[in-house]
Amino acid sequence: MKFERYGIGIAKGLTVTIRHLFRHPTVSQYPEQRLNISRRFRGNELVWNKEKCTGCGTCAKTCPQGAIEIVTSTDMTENKYVVDKYQVDTGYCINCGLCIESCPYEALYFSHAFECARYRRSELVQSKDDMLETPERKVSGYFYPDKANKLPEQTLLVEKVTEKR
């Protein structure tokens, strides 16, 4: 193949590359700089509402991974189910969110936390008390738009770059 003016294309390409030197960086230094994650974040763990849950078991039936385990007993005096055991094995959970969509009593949410590494496999299994909402384990707005609107807005690369270029 013959080129009339060899090197023009490469020189043109290099101007693009050199221009990038003067642009605002698009990466952020993670532990120091934190970006806001999505308001609908489908994170590592589930948050369970003790008061709202009736023990109907729809979530366990919907879960494609079989990660939820529920044991209930009947309380004859109050005529309702008592949830004896509610346990999610987050090692099996694929964070699909189908359990949250299926819960008819709005008792199950995703948590908005994402740094959930554990040292042991057994710690991945979460029981009733680990799953309650705490100030550190905020509820994510997945499937609940009113909860999403209270969370900080997601940082978008689109905005970050247009502002500072």
């Binding site: 590359t17 609908r40 905005e159 247009t162």
Partner: protein, 367 residues
């Protein structure tokens, strides 16, 4: 005097930086010239088709995410279309538009990766790839906003999408759409005239239109060989018949044409998104359906134009909550069958480029 050489068998992969995942080829060489290749699949086999037989119709959607993990949204889309066809479900208008916008954004993202990885194989080590990754990142940001995750979106549902778009989505998408043409122009400035790229890719690995049709290739690989076939036009699904877009084609079917083809298709996708953004109505995004879908006994095949080609789902129902059989027609696997025709007679260094220009995802080949 010609030196007589013996054929030499080289094992490439399964963990080789340019086989895009765990893919293995047994290459027979004569000196440096490729005589024959034999692809060997199965290193990423997870049995998705079999797993699908034990799951509910909704529970399969997260599995489809894991087929072609570069374009999860398209997989969701194809699967949902198949179930809707099987059960005769009508999707609300707004959901159709959301699906089209999302699927086209996904096409842009997947094609950016395809082009970037191809250039990577050509020896432009990670410079163009990272530029394209940056633009893909903007799209992934949008997907994270609507679905909550960045790779396995699991966003579409049978009868619509899982939730409506958030309020912040449309302004962010508009901003992205305004920026994207500028970036596309930048890529062209970076690459179109580049002598190294032209010398390495032009005329290399030619697949004629006839060969492409014979091995039932689809998508950019087929269209780069000059065959005008796009399922969005040939068998319109969803609401693609409402949009005005062209099917770009190339002429020779070499590696350079396949690269140009992908760039041109990205332009058309942006054009579709622009139209859909103007037309999108308000309303519900999900049809009212029972928790467990029980389609009537029968079978259905739905196919879409995924970023890599024709992606089809064939479902057989026996009127229970799980499909009796689920078969997936992955574009990567079928396009890969064209590889042998393309590489015969080329050097081993060209093999890498030709293989990269097909654009495969191993998650889809092995399933």
């Amino acid at each position: 005097m010609a030196v007589r050489t013996e054929p030499f068998v080289l094992n490439m992969g399964p963990v080789h930086p340019s086989t895009h995942g765990v893919f293995r080829m047994r290459v027979t060489l004569d000196g440096e010239v490729v005589v024959d290749i034999e692809p060997i699949f199965g290193y990423l086999h997870r049995g998705i088709e079999k797993l699908a037989e034990q799951r509910t119709y909704t529970g399969i959607i997260p599995l489809t995410d894991r087929l072609d993990y570069i374009s999860s949204m398209s997989n969701n889309f194809a699967y949902c279309l198949a179930v809707e066809k099987l059960a005769g479900i009508k999707v609300p208008e707004r959901a159709e538009y959301i699906r089209v916008i999302i699927a086209e954004l996904q096409r842009v993202a997947a094609l950016l990766i395809a082009v970037g990885a191809f250039l990577n194989d050509c020896g432009a080590f990670f410079t163009p790839f990272l530029y394209m990754f940056r633009e893909r990142e903007r799209i992934v940001d949008l997907f994270e906003m609507v679905s909550g995750q960045r790779l396995t979106y699991n966003y579409m549902r049978v009868g619509g999408v899982s939730q409506d778009l958030p309020d912040e989505f449309m302004p962010a998408l508009r901003k992205f759409m305004n920026m994207m043409p500028r970036f596309m122009a930048e890529y062209d400035r970076l690459l179109v005239q580049n002598e190294i790229l032209i010398a390495r890719a032009k005329g290399v690995g030619i697949l004629t239109g006839e060969q492409a049709i014979n091995c039932s290739a689809s998508g950019p690989v087929l269209r780069a060989s000059g065959v005008k076939w796009d399922i969005r036009k040939a068998d319109p699904y969803s609401i693609y018949d409402r949009f005005d877009f062209a099917i770009p084609t190339q002429t020779t079917g070499d590696c350079y044409d396949r690269y140009r083809q992908r760039v041109e298709e990205t332009r058309q996708s942006l054009h579709i998104i622009r139209q859909a953004m103007e037309q999108i109505p308000s309303g519900p995004v999900r049809a009212e359906l029972p928790q467990l879908i029980r389609p009537p006994a029968g079978e259905a095949y739905a196919h879409i134009e995924a970023p890599k080609g024709e992606l089809g789902f064939y479902l057989v129902s026996d009127n229970s909550i799980a499909p009796y059989r689920c078969h997936i027609r992955p574009p990567s696997l079928i396009n890969l069958t064209a590889l042998r025709d393309m590489v015969r007679g080329w050097k081993i260094a060209d093999l890498i480029i030709i293989f990269g220009s097909i654009d495969i995802t191993v998650g889809e080949i092995d399933r």
